[in-house]
Amino acid sequence: MTRRSPLAAAGLALAVVLLLLWSLFPLYYAVLTSMESGSGIFRIRWWPEAIELGNYRALFATGAFGRSILNSVLVAVLVVTASAALGLTAAHALGRIRFPGRRLILLAVLAVSMFPQVAVLSGMFTLIRGLGLYNSLWGLALAYLLFTLPFTVWVLTTFIRELPVEIEEAAIMDGAGPFTILIRIFLPLMWPAIVTTGLIAFIIAWNEFLFALTFTLTDDMRTVPVAIALLTGGSQHELPWGMIMAASVTVTLPLVALVLVFQRRLVAGLTAGAVKG
């Protein structure tokens, strides 16, 4: 720790406390609300008085919410797998093989990631209906490739370029073909990058709302963001805030845990390239 005047030290401490309050209070308050029962929810409290899990029990009582979680997991796993497979082969070509039009393809892929989602909504709707995938998890997984694929291709291409060429040249000397190189040489070296992009693709798929809202129709096909947005209670006008907060906490805590555990790797993935500019 460097020399710092008492005033500067106090200022820094205050800034850190404010930062923590600002970042964590809403989640803390959601947890607090989720453990309130009945009318207790309508009294403002800053501290927990009793821990009641009634809202969580009610949330999972019908099985609909559990089903939504399962749906989200399935869609996310499909998206991550497909993005990784397609992204890895593409990154191999874009990062390692010099061919005409390579830059153009990279720019086109980047341009796709800038599409406003709404701009493809009606076209995507007819595509999904045309393929018979409306109101199915397959349809959602296909649609999500719109955002996860360009992102995966970019990060994996950046990463593959940084690997030493010598390893690959040695393999070529030994007579390995492109597929062998990809599977036997790159795949083992690429795990850190694949985990990072896979994680980010998972988060994107887990959080997506617009497509999930528009391309599914029935409760049993809903993903968690849509389930939370549409959660209503017994009566039309009284929103079940306790249950909504219980649902929010349930889908958020695993994600927060993932982000905290993989923090360094995520930051590296998200900032890949940006700081070099």
Partner: protein
Amino acid sequence: MSATTGAGGRGSTRTAAVFLSPMMAVLALVAVWPLARTIWFGFTDASLTAPGDYGLVGFANYLEAYDGAWYGILADPTWWRALANTLIFAAASVTLETVLGIAMALVLNAEFRGRGWVRAAVLVPWAIPTVVSAKMWAWMLHDQFGIVNAGLMALGLIDRPVAWLADATTALPAVILVDVWKTTPFVALLMLAALQTVPRDCYEAARVDGIPAWKVFVFITLPLIRPALAVAVVFRLLDALRVFDLVYVMTGNAEATMTLSVHARQQLVQFQDMGYGSAASTLLFLVVGLVTILWLAVLRPDRSAVAGQREGAGA
């Protein structure tokens, strides 16, 4: 075969094609084709209930004179309101996120005990799904039972509860606040990464020379983090211009906060007017494209810097 291209060589263009075509085919299917269809539908009177059955109407969805009056999106005050909301939302949220993001990064870059934990903690808002943040804040901003009103009243800042999301004057600022809360960590993260590339010697030299902190920031730090800043701003701007989830979940289709994305989806899904809605979507695409081109022309951030973090903020 040159050393820099690895397996590259004349013969491997074929290999590249084999490796690339699956990804290209999928992107053509989920991006190019739907976009082309959307633009096409914008010139038709298609309806969502029977998308196959439509006729061409030219530019009527955009602007049409009929019986001395103007019709179409460009004559629709709701669309102009949505455009204004979107631009206000984007300008305000990106400005605030940038300023707060830099401030947050400066704090996180200082040395203090437990810094690792604090860095992890500020990431929490970013990790929370947008729909969940929207709900959490809608509850905190609740007019009768919200803790924001209770807190402000306890501090004596307001004397009666404010209906933050229902009142047309406070709804847009409230939505902006939540967006700033959620995405500032992303900007801070990029800024922190950039700050860490600033050589320590610069600061040492400045301290030895007794240069005031603000001057060090303006003349040393800021120029050095500028490229990363430009990248962060472009991405945040693009995300802000197409904002949907947050606004839709917090205030639904309310006009006070309606953005271009919410407007387009309302036409498309709620009113089932696929032609008109597609035209609105196309306009949003053009607005985003225009702002991107303008921004790139003004700032010219290094293109290679645009790599990794594309989806990071929006997710």
